[in-house]
Subunit: 211 residues, 2 copies
DNA sequence: GTCTATAACCGGATAGAC
DNA sequence: GTCTATCCGGTTATAGAC
């Protein structure tokens, strides 16, 4: 009755998810047809609607499978850093869970979803990101007590921007840099850049509010 | 024989360009139909192919109209800053031309194109961005003589990421921030953040090469 | 230059056999 | 659970009248 258990690597459902992840990442939701996906996954067209109801809920499932573990790892890393984290620890907790092996195939997709306004962005934001944003906003406040609330918001936003840009354009980075790209090296560069950005001098003339 | 001269605001061609800019920005290229555009522009469906040959070349025209002046303004600002610009002057030359009134309607579209790998990104990159990247890479080198070549590349990439993120998500920013957003304020926050990021300590253990 | 009409095709979804 | 066959609406593009 129940098909392959979750996480099994070659069931029909999983093959569909993998193919969908690939095409949605490469060509976007509207640029991908269910026929692209079923051909790649070598399953019948009707299997998609049987297992996932619709193209849109298939996309939801694809995103869900990857975003949840990333955010869990982020929270764990913040917890591990304790109540007085350094700026570098906060930044690292934010970005490094996206630079690990097992989310690698989903990187273009995640980058695309987080880079563009869409029905999916809004759903992901409400379901998964709001809590992450609040948690990281608090962590930044703990690591930079003098930074006003509004500037914290913007700097978090800019940080997310640099990160999603790297993810979304990871496929064309070799074209731009003219040389092969090492994931670990990018991560270190990114943490350095973002940490310095977060530590920028406070702009507001009045910085009364610390929380 | 010749229709409205370029720049005229109510010719058929211009109305198509404006409507296309709006929809391509809101829903993306694949998510927009020519019927969306012709309905909005109140022109006949066939007018698009008559004036722009195809949907794809229409998109090229929409992008071209906005990117060129932005890059021209960037170059002018770099020129005005002279041979020894400050970091702030370089950053401001990079981002501020996108925060002016007359590119405002194109902001979501530009954000989208620069945020996602696509046929358009690659074309825009080769035709418009390579030269800008090289010029700004030199300007950063002039403002930060100790920064190695590779780190310059990455920091420029991260800077572009923060900026395109702000552009692409400008439509949903009120949702995220919970309050209305002032363009000028965002620009100042962005320049502050990015300037500090560019000035981050050098990472490479060997920083022999200055150029 | 602008219209109507239509060609030619592709999309997501589903009914129903097995 | 998985298949074939098909419905049906929407898509770009063009031919040809005006």
């Amino acid at each position: 009755m129940i098909s392959a258990p979750q996480g099994t690597q070659s069931g029909t459902k999983t093959r569909i998810l993998n193919a969908a992840e690939k095409f949605f990442g490469e060509k976007g939701f509207d640029g991908t047809s269910l026929r692209d996906i079923t051909t790649e996954a070598q399953v019948n067209l009707a299997a998609v609607n049987y297992h996932f109801q619709s193209k849109e809920t298939l996309m939801d499932a694809v995103i869900e499978r990857r975003i949840a573990p990333v955010n869990q790892r982020r929270m764990e890393m913040l917890d591990a850093a304790g109540p007085s984290p350094t700026v570098e620890q906060v930044v690292e907790a934010f970005v490094s869970p996206l630079f690990v092996m097992d989310v690698l195939p989903a990187v273009p997709l995640i980058g695309r979803v987080l880079s563009n306004p869409s029905q999916f962005f809004e759903r992901v934001y409400k379901k998964h990101l709001i809590q992450v944003v609040l948690r990281f906003s608090d962590a930044i406040a703990a690591s930079l007590p003098g930074l006003p609330r509004e500037e914290r918001f913007w700097r978090l936003h800019f940080m997310a921007g640099s990160m999603t840009h790297v993810l979304a354009l990871s496929g064309v980075l070799p074209l731009m840099s003219g040389q092969p790209v090492q994931r670990g090296a990018v991560l270190r560069q990114l943490v350095t850049f973002l940490s310095a950005g977060l530590r920028a001098p406070v702009l507001s003339p009045f910085s009364e509010d610390k929380k």
